[in-house]
Every structure is written in C-alpha cells, then in structure tokens.
C-alpha cells in the first residue's frame, strides 16, 4: 500500500428503506498534513471515485464543529465509536493501513454514515433535563456554589449527546427501551444543582419508568468510549442509589 495515500473502506446504504443498497466501498485519497478522517472524507467530495475508478456519489456524513465539541460526526472507525474529527489519520493508520468506517448501529440510518439521534433529545424531555427558572426577568444572582461542587458539575455538563455511550452499551438495543447513560447522567447533573433539586423527585420517578436506570447491565463500556471522560459509571451509581432510596421512601410513606 502506498504511504502517501489514505485507504478508506466505507459502509454505505442509500436509505433506510433500501437495504439492498447496503455495500462496502473502498477509496484511496491523498495524505495531507494534520489529516483527520473528516478531511479524508472531504477528499472524496473533490474526486468521488472508488479505488477501482468507478464514479460514485460522495459519501454522506454529519459534521459541524470539527473540534470535538458538537458531537455531530460520531461514527464507528476501525470498530470503535468516536468522533471523526478527532480521529487523526497519523494515529489510526500510521503505516497506511485501511481505515474502516461505519455508521452507528443503535440509531435509525438516514444514509451512508448519517444516523438520526432524535431519540436522545426526546429522552432529555423525559428526564426533565433543565432548571425550572421563573422567567428571564431580573431576579438577581443564582445560588452560590463551592468551587469544588462546580468542578463536579462541570465534568457532568460536557455531554455533547453524541451517542457514543449508547452505541457501546449492550443494553441499548432493538429489544430494550433503555435510555442509556447520557440521560441518566443528566439526572445526576440537574439533581446536584440547588434549584434543580426542586424537581429531583420527578427526575427520579422518570428513572423508575420503563427504560430507566434499572436497565443498566453494568457492562461499563460507556465510560470507556465517552470522548469527554464523563464519569458515567459514577453517575449511574448515584442515580441508581437515589432512585432506590426514593422508591423505598415512597413505599414506606405510602
């Protein structure tokens, strides 16, 4: 394999209703300095031909910020779910190895590498992932917070809703309703906030519903793949404990 080329093998499909178009296509594009998987895909747009010289439509994929903060370009690269922007060619294929790219499998396919993650945003509604402010009019400063607590909350707040944790979770699948780690982490995040606590009960009750925290199988894959190193296992642990406590109290107090 030539070293000044990048070799890509990409899983393609024209649409969800066209399973017959599911196929692999291979591409060879020039190697550029500081190249990532996004710039390799961009090279295909400039010269949309497979390795065998067959003219094809450019590959469809999602992306926006290209600095791993919007979460859009999540896909499976060499078997691992991650953002394509921070997948540097030099690191994942230092000797010109073929880079294999597939769409995430836990979300409905749109086309090629594009999937629809609307479910994750819907789940944020279910767990009431917000602070109930009275309005945007002037009501003075928010509650004081220790620097220590801020650092804990900040770490939890960085979730980009990218879907890596859902993709890696064996309990998120076609036959389960499990919301996955991302939404559970939001429950912990908002329950930690002095004002957010006012809706703590509602959030914990959402965790007792179908798809809630009890459906975590403790595989711990989520924390391995989270690009923002969010302590997802801790969050699941906290929320599971709080939910159980809440259940017992509710039962005791009738």
């Amino acid at each position: 394999m030539s070293k000044n080329k990048v070799h890509l093998k990409i899983r393609r499909q024209d649409g969800p209703d066209k399973p017959d178009t599911r196929r692999w296509e291979e591409f060879e594009v020039p190697l550029l300095p500081q190249m990532n998987v996004i710039s390799a895909l961009q090279q295909i747009q400039l010269e949309p031909k497979t390795k065998d010289g067959k003219g094809v439509a450019p590959v469809a994929w999602d992306c926006s910020c290209l600095e791993e903060i919007c979460g859009a370009c999540t896909m499976i690269i060499n078997g691992a779910v991650r953002q394509a922007c921070s997948a540097l060619v030099e690191e994942i294929a230092p000797h010109g190895e073929t880079i294999v790219i597939e769409p995430m499998s836990k979300f409905p396919l749109v086309r090629d590498l594009v999937v629809d993650r609307a479910k994750m945003f819907e789940d944020l509604k279910r767990v009431k992932a917000w602070i109930e402010i009275d309005g945007t009019h002037d009501l003075g400063a928010g509650p004081r917070e220790s620097a220590e607590q801020q650092q804990v909350r900040y770490a939890l707040s960085r979730c980009m809703t990218c879907g890596c944790c859902l993709e890696a979770c064996p309990n998120v699948n076609d036959s389960s309703h499990f919301m996955g780690p991302a939404a559970i982490n939001q429950v912990r995040y908002f329950n930690l906030h002095p004002t957010g606590q006012h809706q703590r009960t509602e959030r914990l009750e959402s965790m007792m519903q179908r798809g809630g925290v009890a459906e975590c199988g403790k595989a711990q894959n989520c924390v391995e793949v989270c690009p923002k190193s969010i302590p997802l296992i801790d969050s699941i642990g906290h929320v599971a404990r709080d939910t159980t406590q809440h259940m017992i109290l509710r039962w005791l107090l009738g």
Partner: protein
C-alpha cells in the same frame, strides 16, 4: 387596526413566529417570544444543541465589578466602542453593556457551571482590549455551556402546550416546534414586500416546504466558510444571510472580518485556541534569533522576543485581536521570524503561545477544554510545551443591517419593533448574522454577550411587531406560498439536474477551494487595492462557472452535494459583498487594514457600509435608504451614532487608554482598576 386575536388568525390557525438558527441568539429570541406568549417554529440545519455557539470558549463579558477593580458598564461600553475603532452605533452597545451583569445572573440561575471564587461567587478573568477582570467563564467551553443552558430552557417550551387567552389548551399545539435538519431556502414576501414566511428543505427526505410565520428572525451565524478553512463550523456558510440580501435586505459593514490571532492549523479547519489562554497569563513569543533551532524550553527568557509585550506595553498579550493578528503577521510574514522548523528548514508561519509557566492544576481548572483540543489535534502536551499558533478567520463584525430605536438615556427603547428589524418588514436578524455591536473589531467575550443581549431585545421587538399587525400571515393567500415552494423545488431540481448530459462539469468543492483561497490570501489581515481587484475578478470567474457545476449525487435522500451547491452559490454573493466593501473603503479601521491607507479617516469613513443587491450577485453601496417598520416609514443614513464615547485614536501602547473618558468622568472609582 391590529389583528383581533394575538394567538389565532381569523381562520383559526395558531399564529407562530419562525426563528431560523438555533444558536445562542436564536434560542434566546425564542425564549423571549415564548414568554410573550408567542409560539415559535425553530428551523435549524443541525440539532440546535450542535450549533456553532458550542465553539465559543473563553467566556462572556459583564462588568459586575466583584473583583473590586472599579469596573462598570460605562467602561465596558467605552472599551467596546474603542476596541471596535468607533464604527459601532453606540446606543446598542450601551444597552448591551448595561444589561450584561443581569444576563450573566440569568445564566447563573439557569444552572451554567461557571467557575467560582473561594467565596462561591462567579469568577472573572481578563480578556483582550481591557485591563479589568470582566469575563465569566465555564472552564474553556463557555459557549457550549451557555448553549446547553438555553437549549434546556427551550426544550421545556417544547413540552408546554399553547394555552389561549381563556386558559384553554389548544390540542396538539406546543410553544416550540423544532425543525432540525432543515435548510433555509428563501423568504416568502407578500405583494407589499412584507416577510410572511420561509421556504425550507428537509435535508433527509429533500422535501421542500413553505412555512407561514407572523415574522421571521434569522439567527444563522457568520460566513466563515467563504474563507474555506476558518475557526467556524462547517455550517457557517452565511447562506441564509446571502439569500436575504439577494431578496432585498441591506447588508452592513461586510468587509469587517475578524482574524483571530491564535489558532492551530489543520487540513479541514483551523482550531481556535481561546484568548482566555492569554487572559490567564499566556505569553506570545518567537526566538530573537530567527535561525534558532533549539526546542522552545531550551531557549532562555532573554533570548525570546515577547513581541506583543514589547510593542504594546500597556495591554501586552491582551491587545485586541486585529492588532495581535497584524503583529503576528508582521513578525512571520514580513520579517520572516516565525518559528524555525527543523523538519522543513524554514521559518514557518507560527509563533509560540506559552502557558508553561502557569501551574498545571490551575490550567486544568480554567483552560482544560482548549488544552485538550491542542493535545488531541496537535499531538503535543501544552502543559509542558509552548503551543504553536497562527491567525485564522474567526468572526464577521458585519452582517445584515438591523435598526434600533434610541432612548432618551442613549440606550434602546424597550420593546420597540425597530430593534433588530432588517430593512425587509417582518424580517429580523440577531447574533453574528447582524452587524450591530462590534464596529470594526469585536472584543473577545463580547460575542456570547451580543448574541444573548440581541435575543433579549429581538424577542420583545418581534412581539411588538406582531402585536401591531393588521392581518396574520395565516390569512395570506395560499397561492403565494405554493408559488414560492414550487420555485424552490424547481431550483433544487436545477441543482441536481444541471449538466447531467455533459461529460464533465465543475466540481463545486473545487470551485469553493478556488474562491476561498483568494479570499483568505488577499482579503483578510492586509488588503491592497490591486489585489482586491484581482479577488473581485476571481469572484467573477467563479460566478461565471456556477452554471457549469455538476454534482455526482442524483440521490433523492440526504443529498449533501445539492445542499452544498446552494450554499456555495450564496457564498459567492457574500464574497463579493466582503471584497467589494474592502475595495471601497479607503482607510484602515479595526480589522480592515490597508497599508496604502495606514490611518483611520473619520472625516470620510466614519460611516456604515450599506450594501444592496443590484441583481445577478452585484453589489451597490448606499448613503441612505428608507424602509418601513410596523407601518411607519424610517429614513436610514450611513452615519454612525458616536454620541456616547468621543472617537479618538486607539493607543494600546498605553495602559488605560481604552477607558480614558470613563475615568475622567468618574475618576475615583475607575482609577482603582489601574493600580
């Protein structure tokens, strides 16, 4: 006579406002509209949580003066006007500076995890163009945190039913509906030129559809993609603004494009390293000896040229961005003193941004977000090695022209329908897509603020406008919308079908590279008239080639090639607005620098550039125009309102020069900040 019912049209339909774009400005506008009881449809290219606001890093300015430095909104106003080289109308800037402390409190109440002081108050850091600690921040991902907080509030409204004046819930109607993954195609204008809706396209099914709106607000961000690689997201093409311009909206100060001094190069984009790195003490330097091949850690202090500190002792590494970028360009490009690379044997276009003298724990608490970016993308540990950076296109001060109504106190009249109104009745613009707050150069950490303040103002302005409407867009003849929809469908089919019968057509991405290359080279930090003429020629050539574009995707699903062609056709129009504005303006001011006209020329050029589309992507400049807002005629000229801060020459060599007037007016308070 106003429409009888604020919530429902004569035909019984719910009256909604359309907000295009779901970044900070669009979401804040949405929240304010909802609070005024007006339901909103948000149309966004991406799920709003992925909007470009996430990329803002350093923080948000607010003169709360909790650090006891004597800071005040008065000084914030002055430093913003001064930093912008006096091209901004000052009443909106005053409104923004006065509102800033309240805005930060609001965000605090929404749960934004701002960094804290030991006492549990918000922490503030320094940013460019000021000597005061004025910038609240959440690590180095402040934009992300602010966007998430607003996204959460808007999600709340997605679950809230629409309730009419009698308290009745309207079945199936929620306060906010989101159309995410939809591309704005055009405005729908009625026979009187009033904006009554939009046409948009679903980027999955490619379905084209018209939507009715009592008013439309564009909050679609900046045009960074015109320059190819920039710090902007891929969605920042300026397409919606360009289309509105083509449909008659005036575009203002297009030539003012901010180049951020510190970004890291990449094949796909230039990644920003926030000004907060310098706000926390980062220093910019190159070796004094241009042929020095030693690793930076082995070059002693005395053999380093901290050129910003040397050239601008008053503000040092925190001079405004236009000045820092020009200085880096001077060192690297004209003097050939960029960092020497052992690999290439050349002096590269790079300087050091050095944080290694700051304790690692402090950096991790305050700057981890950006240092992770450097580590991931440059592959070098920035805690122990100086970063290598170079300027990159970052922000557009110019944008769609928007109005304001001045209050007696020199600020904005609350709820005036003129605030943030474009020259098309019923069309509003807010956020980076407007031109209102930053003059010729934006100060760091003022962009998040201007988006939020803009939203706080635009929501009530639209509510006033809608309240005064005599008829609802819901009652406008449906043939108007059907025609607009059919036209856009035909245009989409044109893009997919054109030149199919030819062997070869122009590849749109190739053409884009040709355009952006000249824009980046000749229309950014330094501008020369002869080169700008060549840029304009090139834009003409690219424009001539547009009909020859052929895409390789005939798919009827998620056809990203067709989407790109449409955006690119609009980018070419904006490129001309930018380049022709630059050619036109015979002076240097803020980010617009012409070595042949070294000085600012207030006598001739303290004027807003007002550009109007004159057909086929051509641009004409106006001294004045008239437009109609809420039934009243308004006469607009290119004069700038500088009634609050007297224009004077910028002198960042001298500490405190940017806040001189305020310190004269309230000497005791403000002096403390300089001690």
């Amino acid at each position: 006579m106003a429409a009888k019912n604020q919530l429902r049209s004569a035909s019984g339909q719910v009256r909604r406002v359309i907000v295009v774009g779901g970044g900070l400005a669009g979401l804040m506008t949405t929240i304010k509209l909802c609070e005024a009881g007006i339901p909103v449809d948000i149309v966004s290219l991406v799920p709003v949580k992925r909007s470009h606001s996430v990329c803002a890093q350093g923080g948000i300015n607010a003169s709360v003066n909790t650090m006891g430095e004597g800071d005040s909104p008065r000084i914030h106003l002055e430093e913003t006007a001064y930093g912008g080289d006096f091209l901004a109308n000052q009443p909106p800037v005053k409104g923004m500076a006065d509102a800033a402390p309240g805005i930060v409190s609001l965000l605090d109440r929404m749960g934004v995890p701002f960094n804290r002081t030991p006492e549990g108050l918000l922490d503030f850091r320094r940013f460019g163009g000021s000597l005061f600690h004025r910038t609240a921040y959440a690590g180095a991902t402040t934009g992300q945190q602010l966007l998430y907080a607003l996204d959460e509030q808007v999600r709340r409204y997605e679950t809230k039913p629409v309730v009419d004046e009698t308290g009745l819930t309207l079945p199936g109607e929620v306060m906010v509906r989101k159309l995410e993954g939809w591309d704005f195609l055009s405005l729908v204008l009625d026979d009187h030129g009033r904006c009554v809706g939009i046409v948009a396209q679903d980027l999955r099914t490619m379905d084209v559809q018209a939507f009715r709106g009592e008013a439309v607000c564009l909050a679609t961000g900046g045009p960074g993609m015109v320059f190819g690689r920039s710090t902007n997201s891929m969605i920042c093409t300026g397409s919606a603004a360009a289309k509105a311009f083509r449909q008659g909206a005036i575009y203002a100060n297009g030539e003012f494009i901010q180049v951020h001094p510190t970004a890291i190069p990449g094949a796909d984009k230039l990644r920003l390293i926030s000004e907060s790195a310098r706000g926390e003490g980062g220093r910019v330097w190159v070796p004094k000896d241009a042929s020095d091949t030693r690793p930076p850690g082995q070059i002693p202090q005395r053999e380093r040229d901290y050129f910003l500190e040397r050239m601008y002792p008053g503000y040092g590494n925190l001079v405004p961005r236009d000045i820092a970028s020009r200085a880096i360009f001077q060192i690297c490009f004209h003097e050939g003193r960029g960092i020497h690379s052992n690999k290439t044997g050349k002096n590269e276009l790079e300087v050091y941004l050095d944080l290694t003298h700051i304790p690692e724990t402090q950096l991790r608490q305050k700057l981890a977000g950006i240092l992770e970016i450097y580590e991931k993308f440059a592959g070098v540990d920035p805690y122990h090695n100086p970063m290598k950076v170079f300027p990159a296109v970052h922000y557009s001060m110019g944008g769609l022209w928007v109005d304001y109504e001045r209050s007696a106190a020199g600020s904005l009249v609350d709820g005036s329908p003129r605030n943030h109104a474009t020259s098309i009745p019923g069309l509003y613009a807010v956020g980076e897509v407007d031109y209102a707050y930053h003059g010729a150069n934006r100060l760091g950490a003022n962009s998040l603020l201007s988006c939020l303040y803009g939203g706080l103002v635009t929501g009530p302005a639209i509510a006033s406008y809608v309240g005064a409407l005599a008829s609802s867009s819901q009652d406008t003849s449906s043939s108007l919308f059907e025609t607009a929809e059919a036209q856009e469908r035909k245009d989409y089919e044109r893009i997919v079908g054109q030149n199919r019968d030819k062997d070869k057509g122009e590849n749109p991405w190739h053409l884009h590279a040709q355009l952006s290359e000249v824009m980046l080279r000749d229309c950014t930090i330094e501008r020369h008239d002869d080169r700008l003429d060549r840029v304009l020629d090139k834009i003409g050539t690219v424009q001539d080639k547009l009909p020859k574009v052929r895409i390789d995707d005939t798919g009827q699903r998620a056809n990203q090639s067709a989407q790109f062609v449409r955006h690119f056709e609009n980018m070419v129009v904006l490129a001309r607005v930018i380049a022709q504005g630059a050619r036109h303006r015979a002076e240097s001011r803020g980010a617009h620098y012409k070595p042949a006209h070294e000085k600012r020329d207030d006598a001739n050029w303290l004027r807003t550039t007002l550009a109007r589309h004159s057909g086929e992507g051509q641009v004409e400049f106006l001294k004045s125009f008239d437009y109609e807002c809420a039934g009243k005629g308004v006469h607009v000229t290119d004069e700038v309102d500088v009634s609050l801060v007297q224009p004077r020459e910028r002198k960042y060599e001298q500490a405190g020069a940017a806040s001189e007037q305020a310190r004269k007016e309230a000497p005791v308070e403000a002096e403390r900040g300089l001690s």
